[in-house]
Symmetry: C4
Subunit: 314 residues, 4 copies
């Protein structure tokens, strides 16, 4: 049994392993003592949870993908699909906003530029309630295939729209379907952004070098994300609750030994339905029953990790 | 905490926000008092639930989509798929009719014209039991791509078939896969319809202007609809029960503060199976255990909202 | 409330409604009395359940569909998929046979001719254990697109293979994916078959006229069938249990008022896995806890219904 | 009832049946006595469970399949998908390693050659913790379509990479998607391998003849495998737990009467997520609560079965 515990932390050639403790993370062995109030975050949190509320509806292109069969004859508009998107701003975000208030948490809202311009009161209300206005591109479209100049304009226009409407200049970025291109991070750094989320590689934030300066990565999630699981009709709302709780249970356990961050994501027209707001409520109440957990906006996470000498650096 | 509650309702440029209360909808905070018998409906209901029972089987085209692999060699009829559809009128609707009687509720039945003509006794029986005969087109086919005149004939023929067989002229409409075209609402208004359901944008009925007159929208659902979840084999019957109950829980909570409507939909050959009738039974019994909930036909909802000065208007 | 109960049974123009009682089927109303031992079957059963065990593996063509990605380069054999099929005769059917013995039930085994010829001992053992040897075509291939003569040979060769190996001449038939052609029933009647199962239209057996003679239809199922739900990875084994129990609950309730038959289907390589045999065991034990239920082979059901004057006739 | 029990084991023409006991496997009948400590394994185990931990991430080709939509414009890299794979070596394998230590089990790790070369410290750590280093090809690519010489080099290069980095020469093999070609087993035998896993036909290991010598087959699983169920978004983590427990329950029952092996498989980037490590933990703790179960590396299983005179031989 002893050789399991004698692994010496050593820098690996790839860097990937350099910060892995490889210690036992589990608490139910009688030999393992867990601190009453362990912390691996600068502010004393044991585990940080970050919730996203994507604001996209109203900015989607005509006939954007939806739960309807994708078999429309060319040249016609998919009118019921349009009403499915309208739900996002008419019901979804207002309902989620009330839920976050009730639960007492602040979230990060990645906002598509055209969605903000089409529904400015809603964007303002998100900010008034204390949530983060982050950027999500000017339109609901790919950017990985744009030229450097095109992409820079695409990102800047979207951020400017958020600033113009809400008064807040975004510092965080999320690309359409997470699909940044080879220039995206450079552009973000040039434009004053401090973090992006289009990375699934770790369960904690980390710091990378962009244009030879520190830039934060606050990882996103597909596992605890309504768009893959619920819109795709793969999971019922109850399965979503169960799976996200299992994710939390493990990360909470690990958080006794090292820095851990959990990410949960909701989209206006999906996570804003009654069944999914009920799901989010049940998940977050469950999490809040655990000591040492704090819910944070991603800009606050980015700022904290950028100043942390113990941050993972790649 | 206080700024959460100080959002002032203001008309937004889009109109979408004009009626959103943005108040906390939740009851479990000690600071929130819920009325014992709140109502936001003219008839004193706290929450209105509307169940659909689509009558389509017997009107489908040859080789219509079914759970069978869609790989038939050209020129042959898919005979087992035809029997899958026959189930809808031989077992499904009779079973559902008995279930609604047992539960003591009235539902809305959108009827395809050819299905009604092929099975007139069943259409009559639906009406005899007190349910609403609504229109669903003359055939099981798209109408968004028809000319104005073609579409008008398509809608009128279907409604006339229902009238001829059941004695009832439909006042409500549902397009194939909800896919109305740009002219559909004008045609419906011209033909004397008072509402349609092909809209997913709100959890309450609302009033729009068609040909400069009031026209009601009684929203439909994909989330609590057997066709996407059960026919697609995405959900088991038990998952359907669990998800629809979660939908109800949240809407019931919200109904303490504002007008809310819940929609549940069943199709003859899917919702009429034993496992799904059991599911519907369990869902509706659960809902009936809550005070202030009423089950209504969609024509009754439309009439009530058209006369309500507080209705959402777009 | 009273008009619900006054529907008079009347022959409909289509015949579909002629045997529907349209009476309330439910037992939990205080006004409804259920007989202690109701029966709508000639042998006194309240509800008849029929289990299928398809014997197909070993008869499949090269590179038949399987859970493996269907992306093989042309000209190569899918060797792991072949072992997936081998599981059906090496583990699946033997395991199911022991399960049926343990549970004390007899089932119907539709057998592909080539599967029987390749694994004769297994086919013999199925019959030795008291189960029905039924026909399932000579090969694992479509028959709806064959000429009359080709199809007759296809069916006869398969039945002869079963007879030659097991000593039993099949009287029941199941087409590949249920896809019979326009001539299939005539051919079956000519060859001496007394029933087929390729019909999903009712939850009870019924009698049709083929070549002006009575022919039985013993309906099959997709809803309680491992091939759509489990092989497709749509359902876990536990979901299958839950859904089939819900199906039973409703049919058992209805069986107090009219003749009802429940069908459950398992395939060698899918229903024969440990998790699905556990599922079948739990389902059948649950069903056996209810009074008046009998498990029957489909040939016994066909014989009983063919002699029943009260049978549904189409 | 007695004829059920009188089936005489007899060699079948195919050999497939020659070792099937066809005895009742079940313990809950009062007439069946189960030994307190039955064993059908040379080392006294009642049931052997083998866990796989595939080490593939870091070795995948550009734009390898992932949960992201497979709709990238040609000529661009799928950057977020790359981070999804990075998760496998940054979080997944380290987390699983700690879980195996906590649970006190040793597993088999099939390692892609390029993954090992790119992350040598991780490969070494797997071996340091006592797990088996097995081979999985030089690259993440098909081998069934290679010539004999190409395939031999492909297998040998992969094995040499493992040996060079970890000091251990693999004796077990797993082909990409289990898709071996017609020459694979001959090549493996020539290179000194003693077993492969690309076979799903039995729930126990067996011995085949390759180049006229004994070669072991240690069957793999799709049913208890994270890649089909979890990556495909078919199952939630909780459904995975439930289904694998059902699989175990049945195999444990059968293990009272004959040799049974259970296989469970996890992949770095899927099984290494928090929710799935929680799932694996719950599954294995459940299994460990049963007497007579041992967890074994596949090389140990292969060695044991190769020396067992009672092994199934094909």
């Amino acid at each position: 049994m002893s050789n399991r515990r004698t692994f010496i932390k050593q820098a690996s050639a790839t860097g990937a392993l350099s910060v892995l403790p490889f210690t036992q993370l589990f608490s139910d062995s009688p030999k393992t003592k867990i601190m009453n109030n362990p912390t691996h975050w600068a502010d004393g949190s044991r585990l940080v949870v970050s919730v996203s509320m994507q604001f996209e509806a109203g900015g989607q292109p005509d006939n954007a993908e939806s739960p309807f069969p994708q078999n429309m004859q060319q040249g016609f508009r998919d009118l019921p699909a349009a009403t499915w998107y309208q739900y996002g701003y008419k019901e979804g975000i207002p309902r989620m906003l009330d839920n976050w208030d009730k639960l007492g948490i602040k979230v990060t809202s990645h906002m598509v530029g055209t969605a903000v311009l089409n529904h400015p009161e809603l964007a303002k209300e998100i900010v008034r309630r204390g949530h983060e206005a982050a950027a999500h591109g000017m339109n609901w479209s790919s950017q990985y295939n744009l030229s450097y100049e095109e992409e820079k304009k695409f990102i800047k226009d979207g951020a400017d729209a958020v600033k113009q409407v809400t008064g807040v200049m975004p510092v965080g970025y999320n690309a359409n379907w997470l699909r940044r291109g080879e220039n995206t991070l450079k552009i973000l750094q040039e434009l004053g952004f401090i973090y992006h989320i289009d990375d699934l590689s770790r369960d904690e934030p980390f710091v990378i070098q962009v244009n030879r300066k520190d830039f934060a990565v606050v990882p996103y999630t597909l596992r605890c994300n309504d768009i893959l699981l619920i819109e795709g009709k793969n999971f019922s709302a109850g399965q979503f609750v169960e799976q996200v709780k299992m994710e939390f249970d493990q990360l909470y356990l690990e958080s006794a030994q090292r820095r851990r961050q959990m990410s949960i994501s909701f989209h206006d027209r999906i996570g804003g339905t009654p069944q999914m707001v009920k799901a989010a409520h049940d998940i977050i109440r469950y999490i809040q029953d655990h000591k040492g957990v704090s819910f944070k906006r991603k800009d606050d996470i980015a700022k904290m990790i950028l100043q942390d000498k113990t941050a993972v650096r790649e």
